[in-house]
Symmetry: none
């Protein structure tokens, strides 16, 4: 069985300044192509530590992915040490140099001298193209062992893994991977982990002994990840389908998608299909709901816009919420949420209006209206209603949970169309 290793380089990991999210991304990808990670290492910017790890990799692992230490500054040690370990030298790669120069030219900035070093590559290596940045990746093979060095900047590294490294590894090791590993994630919303577990019941009877089901709670719902291993893609796909069907039978009402599906994207599909438009009025979420909706490309086809009325004056002036409503019931009230949902729909002339008003905290709470109290309103031409929630005293979490709860309410309403 093939096995891989990840070496993350950077003092910022060792002093706890950043969380090593790169390693989990890479692990998942390598696992999916049948070269699971056996060890993850994080070390500092020191020569001896990296040399030791390269040696361990060469002896014990088929594939080693190194992230970090590829930039143009003095603390970037990966390239010189790779050259040293493999008894190689660094030479300038013209294509990379032109790419780096072009990036600076496009930004209308003169290229600093230090960036010439970005184009230095170990002579016996191949370049992995980095379309999003100036630091190229490096691919080195020796005695059937593969070493890959990638920049530590997550979006650069991710694109390079997906576009280059994974296809290359798949091609190279195709004949050696004699089994298939696949996972599928079932996305749920509107139900907690333990209630889901209870509804699902005996897990082993659904997934079998060799496979895995993991419960991964997030702020917008619980993700259920199924891992299946088998002899070939067909067997594994079939097993995944069977497990998914069993789960849909038990908890189908709470499932909104698979894998990388987003609730906001699912909603977009339904609105598009029904040729419906949406607008939103936000208070405590401060624009987050609109921002989530517009994360989806093509959202301009159904999302007309939103208002973030963060003051009473703007609720009255922009949204035409009645002054008496705010005076009599307050800005965080059933009545205000109702008017906000209805008025934003009319203002934007959209089919549906959503509203959120609440107390995100940490201040502003009272006994009657505690921090975390949130009203969410829905309005279409047939009816307008609101729901009340208590999301606790963490400002950030209350913003996120309120925005997703509004999406969930919306999804429920439009799913029945």
């Amino acid at each position: 069985m093939l096995v891989s290793k990840i070496i993350s380089i950077g003092d910022e990991i060792l002093i706890g300044q950043i969380v090593n999210t790169n390693a989990s991304f890479i692990s998942e990808k390598l696992y999916s192509i049948g070269i699971p990670v056996g060890k993850i290492i994080a070390i500092g910017d020191t020569e001896q530590a990296l040399l030791n790890e390269l040696d361990d990799s060469y002896k014990n692992y088929d594939v080693t992915i190194i992230t970090g230490g590829l930039g143009p500054t003095h603390d970037d040690i990966t390239k010189p040490i790779l050259a040293k370990y493999f008894d190689d030298e660094l030479v300038s790669d013209e294509k990379v140099l032109n790419h780096v120069k072009r990036i600076f030219k496009n930004r209308n900035i003169e290229m600093p001298e230090v960036n010439y070093e970005q184009a230095l590559i170990p002579k016996k290596s191949d370049v992995i193209w980095n379309k999003n940045g100036t630091a190229p990746g490096i691919w080195i093979e020796k005695s059937e062992k593969v070493f890959v060095a990638l920049p530590g900047v997550p979006y650069e590294m991710k694109a390079m893994m997906e576009n280059s490294v994974l296809p290359l590894l798949k091609g190279k090791f195709e004949s050696k991977v004699d089994y298939v590993l696949k996972s599928r994630t079932i996305l749920t919303t509107g139900i907690g982990e333990s209630n889901l577990a209870e509804m699902i019941g005996d897990v082993k009877s659904i997934i079998g002994d060799e496979n895995k089901l993991a419960f991964l709670p997030t702020l917008y719902g619980v993700r259920l990840r199924i891992d299946v291993r088998g002899k070939n893609v067909k067997d594994v796909e079939e097993k995944l389908n069977i497990i998914e069907s069993s789960l849909r039978y038990k908890i189908g009402n709470y499932i909104f998608g698979l894998d990388d599906d987003l609730l906001e994207s699912k909603i977009g599909e339904i609105l598009l299909k029904n040729k419906m438009t949406l607008s939103v009025a936000e208070s405590c979420t401060g624009g987050l709901l609109a921002s989530k909706i517009t994360d989806i490309s093509g959202s301009s086809n159904y999302f007309l816009g939103g208002v973030c009325t963060y003051s009473n004056e703007s609720k009255i002036g922009i949204l035409e919420v009645k002054k008496e409503t705010l005076e009599n019931f307050g800005a965080v009230s059933e009545e205000a949420a109702l008017e906000m949902a209805e008025n934003v729909r009319k203002k934007f002339d959209s089919d549906i209006g959503l509203s959120i008003t609440g107390i995100a905290g940490p201040s502003g709470g009272t006994n009657e209206k505690p921090v975390g109290l949130v009203w969410i309103g829905y309005s279409d031409k047939f009816r307008t209603f609101v729901k009340k929630f208590l999301f606790g005293n963490n400002r950030e979490r209350t913003k996120i949970r309120s925005a997703y709860m509004a999406l969930e309410i919306l999804k429920k309403e439009i799913s029945n169309l």
Copy 2:
């Protein structure tokens, strides 16, 4: 100098199912007490891998913190392997057993048989009390080396680190920690890594030979982390102040804060101090700018609200952008951005109005107006201006960079008040 190591145990890390946040928490804590982490390892639930790492720890590290693998199920291997490595045996600890029994009793659940194993402890070890869960921690000392095993559940681990492990380590190694380590992060925005490096010039002459300066790029700017080591807190603080001053002298225009400061929070401070109010009009950022601003608690004291005009109709209807402007120049234009900034300021009756209009993509671009083209407008009662940017073809990045660029423009304007 003392050095420590972290061993994280669990397949869920190696398959990328969870991010190893435990390691960054522990790293930061150990660094702060002068026992910095030299290596972080993640391995699976296998005996040989853990035995090898224990051996490496015993030879090379003063302190080793192990997380995970302490539960009561078959794949929890930490305790038996610790006993094996240290030639010890597992014995039942009565106090721990009573604690475990009490937890089940309090939950009104009958204790499963397997939980008797929670109370098993290596005979030559000390128990680290876990008030939040059933798995006790373990403290083993041998030849001045310390091994600590903690559960992998984050809130259990964190409480045990803070309440027990850190005080114990501090006490034990007090005489050996004859220096102080401190770091400070200088936050910059509006300039790239290599340009910063060029402006700073020779790093060693600023920070000295023993200290470190690391460049950490993010989407909103580059973070510069200074690590200083010295004999006592006073010396170290002074050195940090001197380095910070030197950096401010060289790149002061790009610095907006220190450590955990946020640009959006800094802006809030300045607005509050000057008793000024703000409103925003967004198109391509779709609410993200307002959401960033309202992430700051107390933002309702200066942020009056925003509009997200995602359609031409709403730009005209809600923001009163002239129809002719949109017809003649388009929604993504200098003229539209100008009107949006000025009109939102007037609509909300705020001192300052910000606007963003652009093409987030992936579709909607033309030769003249490519994907990534963004206009950002600023308006106060004295003047209104716009700036043009090209942020490339990644929708998510364009949203984030546009929002932060608007904040940066705002900060520059109000910093001079």
